[in-house]
Protein backbone atom coordinates (compact mmCIF):
# COMPACT_ATOMS: atom_id res chain seq x y z
CA UNK A 1 0.00 0.00 0.00
CA UNK A 2 2.67 2.49 1.04
CA UNK A 3 6.45 2.61 0.91
CA UNK A 4 8.07 4.80 3.53
CA UNK A 5 11.67 5.30 2.44
CA UNK A 6 14.45 6.84 4.52
CA UNK A 7 12.06 9.29 6.07
CA UNK A 8 13.45 11.95 8.39
CA UNK A 9 11.72 14.56 10.49
CA UNK A 10 13.46 17.25 12.52
CA UNK A 11 11.94 19.82 14.82
CA UNK A 12 13.24 23.04 16.35
CA UNK A 13 16.17 22.95 18.79
CA UNK A 14 17.81 20.02 17.04
CA UNK A 15 15.17 17.44 17.96
CA UNK A 16 15.41 14.60 15.47
CA UNK A 17 12.07 12.82 15.81
CA UNK A 18 12.58 10.34 12.97
CA UNK A 19 15.81 9.28 11.30
CA UNK A 20 16.08 7.06 8.25
CA UNK A 21 12.75 5.30 8.76
CA UNK A 22 12.00 2.74 6.09
CA UNK A 23 8.85 0.68 6.31
CA UNK A 24 6.37 -0.86 3.94
CA UNK A 25 2.66 -1.01 4.75
CA UNK A 26 0.94 -4.04 3.23
CA UNK A 27 -2.65 -3.92 2.12
CA UNK A 28 -5.01 -5.40 4.71
CA UNK A 29 -2.32 -5.82 7.32
CA UNK A 30 -2.66 -4.97 11.03
CA UNK A 31 0.62 -3.38 12.02
CA UNK A 32 1.58 -2.24 15.50
CA UNK A 33 4.19 0.46 15.94
CA UNK A 34 5.77 -0.13 19.31
CA UNK A 35 8.25 2.13 21.02
CA UNK A 36 8.95 4.24 24.10
CA UNK A 37 7.36 7.66 24.55
CA UNK A 38 8.93 10.36 22.42
CA UNK A 39 10.41 7.98 19.83
CA UNK A 40 8.43 9.57 17.02
CA UNK A 41 5.45 7.22 16.67
CA UNK A 42 2.88 10.01 16.50
CA UNK A 43 5.13 11.95 14.14
CA UNK A 44 5.31 8.96 11.78
CA UNK A 45 1.53 8.55 11.91
CA UNK A 46 1.00 12.21 11.08
CA UNK A 47 3.38 11.88 8.13
CA UNK A 48 1.40 8.89 6.82
CA UNK A 49 -1.86 10.82 7.27
CA UNK A 50 -0.45 13.74 5.29
CA UNK A 51 -0.87 16.06 8.29
CA UNK A 52 2.87 16.76 8.28
CA UNK A 53 5.71 16.61 5.74
CA UNK A 54 9.04 14.79 6.07
CA UNK A 55 12.31 16.74 6.00
CA UNK A 56 13.95 13.93 4.06
CA UNK A 57 13.03 10.70 2.34
CA UNK A 58 9.69 10.01 0.73
CA UNK A 59 6.35 8.29 1.05
CA UNK A 60 5.30 6.47 -2.09
CA UNK A 61 1.77 5.15 -2.39
CA UNK A 62 1.30 2.08 -4.58
CA UNK A 63 -1.59 3.79 -6.32
CA UNK A 64 0.68 6.63 -7.32
CA UNK A 65 -1.19 9.30 -5.37
CA UNK A 66 -1.76 10.20 -1.76
CA UNK A 67 -5.12 9.12 -0.33
CA UNK A 68 -7.99 11.57 -0.70
CA UNK A 69 -9.97 12.96 2.24
CA UNK A 70 -11.89 10.13 3.87
CA UNK A 71 -9.59 7.38 2.60
CA UNK A 72 -7.63 7.59 5.83
CA UNK A 73 -9.27 7.35 9.24
CA UNK A 74 -7.47 8.64 12.33
CA UNK A 75 -8.14 7.77 15.95
CA UNK A 76 -6.34 9.81 18.58
CA UNK A 77 -5.47 8.89 22.16
CA UNK A 78 -8.25 11.21 23.26
CA UNK A 79 -11.61 10.46 21.65
CA UNK A 80 -11.68 14.09 20.33
CA UNK A 81 -15.47 14.13 20.10
CA UNK A 82 -17.31 17.42 19.79
CA UNK A 83 -18.82 17.66 23.28
CA UNK A 84 -21.90 19.54 22.11
CA UNK A 85 -22.81 17.01 19.41
CA UNK A 86 -24.61 13.68 19.80
CA UNK A 87 -22.83 10.41 19.03
CA UNK A 88 -24.57 10.29 15.64
CA UNK A 89 -23.59 13.88 14.82
CA UNK A 90 -19.99 13.15 15.82
CA UNK A 91 -19.90 10.17 13.49
CA UNK A 92 -21.61 12.26 10.81
CA UNK A 93 -18.85 14.90 10.97
CA UNK A 94 -16.44 13.42 8.36
CA UNK A 95 -19.28 13.03 5.87
CA UNK A 96 -20.64 16.46 6.69
CA UNK A 97 -17.24 18.02 6.01
CA UNK A 98 -17.40 16.38 2.59
CA UNK A 99 -20.85 17.92 2.06
CA UNK A 100 -22.86 14.72 2.28
CA UNK A 101 -26.39 15.58 3.38
CA UNK A 102 -27.59 14.36 6.75
CA UNK A 103 -30.34 12.20 5.24
CA UNK A 104 -27.88 10.59 2.86
CA UNK A 105 -25.32 10.01 5.60
CA UNK A 106 -27.56 8.56 8.29
CA UNK A 107 -27.54 4.93 7.11
CA UNK A 108 -23.72 4.92 7.11
CA UNK A 109 -23.67 6.67 10.49
CA UNK A 110 -26.01 4.13 12.07
CA UNK A 111 -24.09 1.28 10.50
CA UNK A 112 -20.77 2.58 11.86
CA UNK A 113 -22.22 2.99 15.36
CA UNK A 114 -23.70 -0.50 15.21
CA UNK A 115 -20.34 -1.96 14.18
CA UNK A 116 -18.68 -0.59 17.31
CA UNK A 117 -21.53 -1.91 19.47
CA UNK A 118 -23.28 1.40 20.04
CA UNK A 119 -26.58 0.85 18.26
CA UNK A 120 -29.21 2.74 20.25
CA UNK A 121 -26.75 5.38 21.51
CA UNK A 122 -27.19 7.68 18.51
CA UNK A 123 -28.54 10.61 20.47
CA UNK A 124 -26.26 10.26 23.50
CA UNK A 125 -23.88 13.14 24.18
CA UNK A 126 -20.21 12.37 24.85
CA UNK A 127 -20.57 13.40 28.51
CA UNK A 128 -23.21 10.70 28.96
CA UNK A 129 -20.84 8.01 27.67
CA UNK A 130 -18.02 6.19 29.46
CA UNK A 131 -14.42 6.57 28.29
CA UNK A 132 -14.60 3.26 26.44
CA UNK A 133 -17.85 4.19 24.72
CA UNK A 134 -16.44 7.55 23.70
CA UNK A 135 -13.50 5.74 22.13
CA UNK A 136 -15.97 3.49 20.29
CA UNK A 137 -17.71 6.57 18.88
CA UNK A 138 -14.31 7.86 17.81
CA UNK A 139 -13.62 4.56 16.01
CA UNK A 140 -17.06 4.68 14.37
CA UNK A 141 -16.27 8.20 13.17
CA UNK A 142 -13.02 6.98 11.64
CA UNK A 143 -14.80 4.07 9.93
CA UNK A 144 -17.80 5.97 8.58
CA UNK A 145 -16.00 7.00 5.40
CA UNK A 146 -14.93 3.37 4.78
CA UNK A 147 -11.23 4.23 4.85
CA UNK A 148 -8.55 2.10 3.18
CA UNK A 149 -6.17 2.86 6.02
CA UNK A 150 -6.95 3.32 9.68
CA UNK A 151 -4.32 5.10 11.79
CA UNK A 152 -4.64 4.78 15.54
CA UNK A 153 -2.43 6.69 17.98
CA UNK A 154 -2.43 4.94 21.37
CA UNK A 155 -6.23 4.85 21.25
CA UNK A 156 -6.69 2.72 24.37
CA UNK A 157 -3.83 4.07 26.48
CA UNK A 158 -6.12 6.13 28.71
CA UNK A 159 -8.62 3.34 29.39
CA UNK A 160 -8.74 0.90 32.28
CA UNK A 161 -7.57 -2.65 31.65
CA UNK A 162 -11.05 -4.24 31.51
CA UNK A 163 -12.34 -1.71 29.01
CA UNK A 164 -9.10 -1.94 27.07
CA UNK A 165 -9.29 -5.71 26.66
CA UNK A 166 -12.85 -5.44 25.40
CA UNK A 167 -11.95 -2.77 22.87
CA UNK A 168 -8.86 -4.64 21.68
CA UNK A 169 -10.87 -7.78 21.00
CA UNK A 170 -13.62 -5.81 19.25
CA UNK A 171 -11.11 -3.91 17.16
CA UNK A 172 -9.50 -7.13 15.93
CA UNK A 173 -12.94 -8.55 15.10
CA UNK A 174 -13.82 -5.34 13.27
CA UNK A 175 -10.58 -5.45 11.30
CA UNK A 176 -11.21 -9.04 10.22
CA UNK A 177 -14.72 -8.09 9.20
CA UNK A 178 -13.95 -5.01 7.11
CA UNK A 179 -10.40 -5.89 6.07
CA UNK A 180 -8.88 -2.42 6.06
CA UNK A 181 -5.22 -1.74 6.75
CA UNK A 182 -4.46 -0.63 10.29
CA UNK A 183 -1.41 1.06 11.77
CA UNK A 184 -1.77 0.96 15.52
CA UNK A 185 0.63 2.95 17.69
CA UNK A 186 1.15 1.69 21.20
CA UNK A 187 3.77 1.58 23.93
CA UNK A 188 2.37 -1.65 25.36
CA UNK A 189 4.03 -4.93 24.40
CA UNK A 190 0.95 -6.88 25.50
CA UNK A 191 -1.34 -4.75 23.39
CA UNK A 192 0.89 -4.98 20.31
CA UNK A 193 1.16 -8.77 20.66
CA UNK A 194 -2.59 -9.11 21.01
CA UNK A 195 -3.83 -6.98 18.14
CA UNK A 196 -1.18 -7.03 15.46
CA UNK A 197 0.11 -9.32 12.75
CA UNK A 198 3.31 -7.33 12.46
CA UNK A 199 4.96 -5.65 15.41
CA UNK A 200 7.45 -2.97 14.42
CA UNK A 201 9.77 -1.89 17.20
CA UNK A 202 11.22 1.61 17.19
CA UNK A 203 14.32 2.87 18.98
CA UNK A 204 14.26 5.74 21.48
CA UNK A 205 14.85 9.17 19.94
CA UNK A 206 15.97 9.64 17.25
CA UNK A 207 13.29 7.19 16.20
CA UNK A 208 14.42 4.48 13.85
CA UNK A 209 12.90 1.12 12.98
CA UNK A 210 14.75 -1.38 15.15
CA UNK A 211 13.22 -4.71 14.25
CA UNK A 212 10.06 -6.29 13.05
CA UNK A 213 8.37 -9.31 14.59
CA UNK A 214 5.75 -11.19 12.65
CA UNK A 215 2.98 -12.89 14.60
CA UNK A 216 1.90 -16.31 13.37
CA UNK A 217 -0.96 -16.49 15.88
CA UNK A 218 -4.58 -16.61 14.83
CA UNK A 219 -6.16 -13.38 16.00
CA UNK A 220 -9.22 -13.71 18.23
CA UNK A 221 -10.71 -12.77 21.58
CA UNK A 222 -9.09 -15.69 23.43
CA UNK A 223 -5.62 -15.08 22.11
CA UNK A 224 -4.33 -14.21 25.58
CA UNK A 225 -4.96 -17.80 26.68
CA UNK A 226 -2.93 -19.16 23.77
CA UNK A 227 0.56 -20.30 24.88
CA UNK A 228 1.85 -18.80 21.64
CA UNK A 229 0.78 -15.37 22.92
CA UNK A 230 3.08 -15.67 25.95
CA UNK A 231 5.92 -16.73 23.67
CA UNK A 232 5.31 -13.73 21.42
CA UNK A 233 5.26 -11.35 24.38
CA UNK A 234 8.54 -12.86 25.60
CA UNK A 235 10.13 -12.53 22.21
CA UNK A 236 9.04 -8.88 21.88
CA UNK A 237 10.29 -8.17 25.41
CA UNK A 238 13.69 -9.61 24.56
CA UNK A 239 13.92 -7.49 21.45
CA UNK A 240 12.86 -4.47 23.51
CA UNK A 241 15.66 -5.19 25.98
CA UNK A 242 18.06 -5.22 23.04
CA UNK A 243 16.75 -1.81 21.90
CA UNK A 244 17.35 -0.32 25.30
CA UNK A 245 20.72 -1.98 25.90
CA UNK A 246 23.68 0.36 25.41
CA UNK A 247 25.33 -0.39 22.07
Amino acid sequence: MLDIVSVERRFARGVVALEDVTLRLEEGNFLALLGPSGCGKSTLLRLIAGLDRPDGGRLTWDRGRAPAAGEIGFVFQDATLLPWASAADNVFLPLRLRHVSRAEAMPAVHDALARVGLAGFESARPRELSGGMRMRVSIARALVTRPLLLLMDEPFAALDEFTRHGLQADLVALWREIGCTIVFVTHSIYEAAFVAQRVVLMTPRPGRIFREIVSTLTPGPDLRLDPGYATLVTSISKTMAAVLAPA
Binding site: R46, A49, A69, G70, T80, L82, L93, R96, L97
Partner: protein, 254 residues
Protein backbone atom coordinates in the same frame (compact mmCIF):
# COMPACT_ATOMS: atom_id res chain seq x y z
CA UNK B 1 -32.19 23.87 58.14
CA UNK B 2 -28.53 24.95 57.94
CA UNK B 3 -28.87 25.24 54.16
CA UNK B 4 -31.77 27.65 54.37
CA UNK B 5 -29.97 29.73 57.00
CA UNK B 6 -26.97 29.93 54.65
CA UNK B 7 -29.26 31.15 51.89
CA UNK B 8 -30.84 33.79 54.10
CA UNK B 9 -27.56 34.93 55.65
CA UNK B 10 -26.71 37.66 53.10
CA UNK B 11 -30.19 39.16 53.50
CA UNK B 12 -29.97 39.22 57.27
CA UNK B 13 -26.50 40.66 57.11
CA UNK B 14 -27.69 43.45 54.83
CA UNK B 15 -30.69 44.19 57.06
CA UNK B 16 -28.45 44.30 60.12
CA UNK B 17 -25.96 46.58 58.41
CA UNK B 18 -28.72 48.92 57.20
CA UNK B 19 -30.24 49.04 60.67
CA UNK B 20 -26.85 49.77 62.21
CA UNK B 21 -26.28 52.51 59.63
CA UNK B 22 -29.67 54.12 60.33
CA UNK B 23 -29.14 53.91 64.10
CA UNK B 24 -25.64 55.35 63.87
CA UNK B 25 -26.77 58.24 61.69
CA UNK B 26 -29.60 59.04 64.12
CA UNK B 27 -27.64 58.37 67.30
CA UNK B 28 -24.68 60.56 66.36
CA UNK B 29 -26.93 63.14 64.72
CA UNK B 30 -25.04 63.08 61.40
CA UNK B 31 -26.55 65.73 59.11
CA UNK B 32 -28.22 64.38 55.90
CA UNK B 33 -26.00 66.52 53.66
CA UNK B 34 -23.00 64.52 54.96
CA UNK B 35 -24.40 61.01 55.32
CA UNK B 36 -28.10 60.23 54.97
CA UNK B 37 -29.54 57.06 56.51
CA UNK B 38 -31.16 54.38 54.42
CA UNK B 39 -34.65 55.65 55.19
CA UNK B 40 -33.77 59.15 53.93
CA UNK B 41 -32.32 57.61 50.78
CA UNK B 42 -35.47 55.62 50.07
CA UNK B 43 -37.52 58.75 50.79
CA UNK B 44 -35.39 60.73 48.31
CA UNK B 45 -36.10 58.12 45.67
CA UNK B 46 -39.82 58.10 46.44
CA UNK B 47 -40.16 61.88 46.15
CA UNK B 48 -39.01 61.70 42.51
CA UNK B 49 -39.23 58.10 41.25
CA UNK B 50 -40.00 59.26 37.70
CA UNK B 51 -36.92 61.49 37.48
CA UNK B 52 -34.49 58.92 38.79
CA UNK B 53 -36.24 56.07 36.96
CA UNK B 54 -36.08 57.99 33.69
CA UNK B 55 -32.39 58.63 34.23
CA UNK B 56 -31.83 54.97 34.95
CA UNK B 57 -33.58 54.13 31.70
CA UNK B 58 -31.40 56.59 29.78
CA UNK B 59 -28.22 55.12 31.26
CA UNK B 60 -29.41 51.57 30.63
CA UNK B 61 -30.22 52.40 27.01
CA UNK B 62 -26.68 53.63 26.47
CA UNK B 63 -25.28 50.62 28.35
CA UNK B 64 -27.20 48.01 26.40
CA UNK B 65 -26.59 49.66 23.04
CA UNK B 66 -22.88 49.79 23.84
CA UNK B 67 -22.90 46.16 25.02
CA UNK B 68 -24.59 44.90 21.86
CA UNK B 69 -22.21 46.99 19.73
CA UNK B 70 -19.21 45.60 21.63
CA UNK B 71 -20.44 42.05 21.29
CA UNK B 72 -21.07 42.32 17.55
CA UNK B 73 -17.85 44.24 16.83
CA UNK B 74 -15.76 42.13 19.20
CA UNK B 75 -17.01 38.83 17.79
CA UNK B 76 -16.69 40.01 14.18
CA UNK B 77 -13.15 41.31 14.61
CA UNK B 78 -12.10 38.21 16.55
CA UNK B 79 -13.44 36.05 13.73
CA UNK B 80 -11.61 38.14 11.16
CA UNK B 81 -8.41 37.59 13.17
CA UNK B 82 -9.05 33.85 13.31
CA UNK B 83 -9.60 33.74 9.56
CA UNK B 84 -6.56 35.69 8.46
CA UNK B 85 -3.12 36.36 9.91
CA UNK B 86 -3.03 39.64 8.04
CA UNK B 87 -6.25 40.77 9.72
CA UNK B 88 -4.81 39.63 13.04
CA UNK B 89 -1.66 41.69 12.55
CA UNK B 90 -3.73 44.69 11.50
CA UNK B 91 -6.35 44.57 14.27
CA UNK B 92 -4.63 43.39 17.43
CA UNK B 93 -2.38 46.42 18.15
CA UNK B 94 -5.29 48.84 17.72
CA UNK B 95 -7.50 46.82 20.04
CA UNK B 96 -4.78 47.05 22.67
CA UNK B 97 -4.34 50.79 22.08
CA UNK B 98 -8.07 51.23 22.54
CA UNK B 99 -7.98 49.21 25.73
CA UNK B 100 -5.12 51.05 27.41
CA UNK B 101 -6.38 54.56 26.57
CA UNK B 102 -8.25 56.05 29.54
CA UNK B 103 -11.79 56.80 28.43
CA UNK B 104 -11.87 60.05 30.41
CA UNK B 105 -9.02 61.32 28.26
CA UNK B 106 -10.63 60.56 24.91
CA UNK B 107 -14.28 61.23 25.76
CA UNK B 108 -14.08 64.97 24.98
CA UNK B 109 -12.58 64.15 21.57
CA UNK B 110 -15.30 61.57 20.91
CA UNK B 111 -17.95 64.15 21.72
CA UNK B 112 -16.43 66.66 19.33
CA UNK B 113 -16.06 64.12 16.53
CA UNK B 114 -19.34 62.26 16.92
CA UNK B 115 -21.51 65.25 17.67
CA UNK B 116 -24.76 63.51 18.52
CA UNK B 117 -24.86 63.18 22.34
CA UNK B 118 -26.44 59.73 22.50
CA UNK B 119 -24.08 58.33 19.89
CA UNK B 120 -21.12 59.90 21.74
CA UNK B 121 -22.11 58.16 24.95
CA UNK B 122 -22.52 54.85 23.13
CA UNK B 123 -19.12 55.20 21.45
CA UNK B 124 -17.43 55.93 24.79
CA UNK B 125 -19.15 53.05 26.57
CA UNK B 126 -18.33 50.75 23.66
CA UNK B 127 -14.64 51.67 23.86
CA UNK B 128 -14.67 50.70 27.53
CA UNK B 129 -16.70 47.52 27.08
CA UNK B 130 -15.18 46.23 23.85
CA UNK B 131 -11.96 44.57 24.96
CA UNK B 132 -13.03 41.68 27.22
CA UNK B 133 -15.57 40.27 24.81
CA UNK B 134 -13.19 40.75 21.89
CA UNK B 135 -10.12 39.26 23.58
CA UNK B 136 -12.06 36.36 25.07
CA UNK B 137 -13.63 35.48 21.74
CA UNK B 138 -10.26 35.64 20.01
CA UNK B 139 -8.82 33.29 22.65
CA UNK B 140 -11.78 30.93 22.35
CA UNK B 141 -11.59 30.75 18.57
CA UNK B 142 -8.08 29.33 18.86
CA UNK B 143 -8.73 27.21 21.94
CA UNK B 144 -9.55 23.88 20.28
CA UNK B 145 -6.99 21.14 20.99
CA UNK B 146 -4.59 20.56 18.06
CA UNK B 147 -6.06 17.08 17.46
CA UNK B 148 -9.39 18.64 16.56
CA UNK B 149 -7.75 20.82 13.94
CA UNK B 150 -5.89 17.74 12.65
CA UNK B 151 -9.19 15.93 12.41
CA UNK B 152 -10.79 18.72 10.40
CA UNK B 153 -7.74 18.96 8.11
CA UNK B 154 -7.75 15.20 7.59
CA UNK B 155 -11.23 15.43 6.12
CA UNK B 156 -10.35 18.43 3.99
CA UNK B 157 -12.58 20.82 5.91
CA UNK B 158 -12.90 24.30 4.45
CA UNK B 159 -11.92 27.34 6.54
CA UNK B 160 -15.60 28.16 6.74
CA UNK B 161 -16.60 24.74 8.08
CA UNK B 162 -13.71 24.74 10.54
CA UNK B 163 -14.88 28.14 11.76
CA UNK B 164 -18.57 27.25 12.04
CA UNK B 165 -18.34 23.65 13.24
CA UNK B 166 -15.27 23.87 15.47
CA UNK B 167 -13.94 27.31 16.33
CA UNK B 168 -17.25 29.08 16.99
CA UNK B 169 -18.81 26.40 19.25
CA UNK B 170 -15.53 26.06 21.16
CA UNK B 171 -15.35 29.86 21.51
CA UNK B 172 -18.92 30.20 22.78
CA UNK B 173 -18.23 29.89 26.54
CA UNK B 174 -15.24 32.24 26.17
CA UNK B 175 -17.44 34.78 24.34
CA UNK B 176 -20.13 34.54 27.01
CA UNK B 177 -17.66 34.99 29.86
CA UNK B 178 -16.25 38.03 28.05
CA UNK B 179 -19.74 39.37 27.47
CA UNK B 180 -20.48 39.20 31.18
CA UNK B 181 -17.39 41.25 32.00
CA UNK B 182 -18.16 43.68 29.18
CA UNK B 183 -21.70 44.13 30.54
CA UNK B 184 -20.36 45.60 33.78
CA UNK B 185 -17.84 47.69 31.89
CA UNK B 186 -20.48 49.06 29.50
CA UNK B 187 -22.32 50.47 32.53
CA UNK B 188 -19.11 51.94 33.91
CA UNK B 189 -18.32 53.37 30.48
CA UNK B 190 -21.79 54.86 30.13
CA UNK B 191 -21.57 56.53 33.54
CA UNK B 192 -18.06 57.87 32.96
CA UNK B 193 -19.11 59.23 29.56
CA UNK B 194 -22.15 60.84 31.14
CA UNK B 195 -19.94 62.52 33.72
CA UNK B 196 -17.75 63.95 30.98
CA UNK B 197 -20.62 65.01 28.75
CA UNK B 198 -22.97 65.96 31.57
CA UNK B 199 -21.65 69.48 31.60
CA UNK B 200 -21.85 69.50 27.81
CA UNK B 201 -25.62 69.68 27.64
CA UNK B 202 -26.80 66.06 27.31
CA UNK B 203 -28.38 65.71 30.71
CA UNK B 204 -30.52 62.72 31.39
CA UNK B 205 -28.45 59.79 32.70
CA UNK B 206 -27.91 58.74 36.29
CA UNK B 207 -24.44 60.24 36.35
CA UNK B 208 -25.96 63.61 35.62
CA UNK B 209 -28.40 63.13 38.51
CA UNK B 210 -25.46 62.41 40.78
CA UNK B 211 -23.65 65.55 39.65
CA UNK B 212 -26.81 67.64 39.92
CA UNK B 213 -27.63 66.35 43.39
CA UNK B 214 -24.04 67.02 44.42
CA UNK B 215 -24.29 70.67 43.36
CA UNK B 216 -27.53 71.02 45.27
CA UNK B 217 -26.19 69.17 48.30
CA UNK B 218 -29.07 66.67 47.98
CA UNK B 219 -26.87 63.89 49.26
CA UNK B 220 -29.77 61.49 49.90
CA UNK B 221 -30.82 61.76 46.26
CA UNK B 222 -27.19 61.25 45.24
CA UNK B 223 -27.16 58.04 47.27
CA UNK B 224 -30.46 56.96 45.72
CA UNK B 225 -28.95 57.36 42.24
CA UNK B 226 -25.88 55.40 43.36
CA UNK B 227 -28.02 52.58 44.69
CA UNK B 228 -29.90 52.43 41.39
CA UNK B 229 -26.57 52.23 39.55
CA UNK B 230 -25.36 49.34 41.73
CA UNK B 231 -28.64 47.52 41.32
CA UNK B 232 -28.45 48.00 37.56
CA UNK B 233 -24.92 46.57 37.57
CA UNK B 234 -25.99 43.56 39.61
CA UNK B 235 -29.01 42.90 37.41
CA UNK B 236 -26.91 43.17 34.22
CA UNK B 237 -24.38 40.73 35.65
CA UNK B 238 -26.98 38.19 36.73
CA UNK B 239 -28.95 38.52 33.51
CA UNK B 240 -25.85 37.94 31.38
CA UNK B 241 -24.98 34.95 33.58
CA UNK B 242 -28.41 33.44 33.02
CA UNK B 243 -28.24 34.27 29.31
CA UNK B 244 -24.87 32.51 29.03
CA UNK B 245 -26.13 29.43 30.83
CA UNK B 246 -29.17 29.27 28.54
CA UNK B 247 -27.04 29.61 25.39
CA UNK B 248 -24.69 26.83 26.54
CA UNK B 249 -27.66 24.61 27.38
CA UNK B 250 -28.94 25.21 23.86
CA UNK B 251 -25.51 24.33 22.43
CA UNK B 252 -25.07 21.19 24.49
CA UNK B 253 -28.59 19.88 24.09
CA UNK B 254 -30.76 18.14 26.66
Amino acid sequence: MTESWLRLAPGFFALGALAAWELAVRGFGVPVYILPGPIAIVAAFLTDPGGLGGSLLATLTVTLTALVTSAVLGAALAMAMAASRLARAAILPWAVVLQVTPIVAIAPLVIIWVGDPFASLVVCATIVAFFPVFANTATGLAAGAPEYFDLFRLYGASHRDTLLLLRVPVALPYFLAGLRISGGLALVGAVVAEFVTGSGGFASGLAYRILESGYRLEVARMFAALVLLSLAGIVINLALGAFGAAVLRARDGP
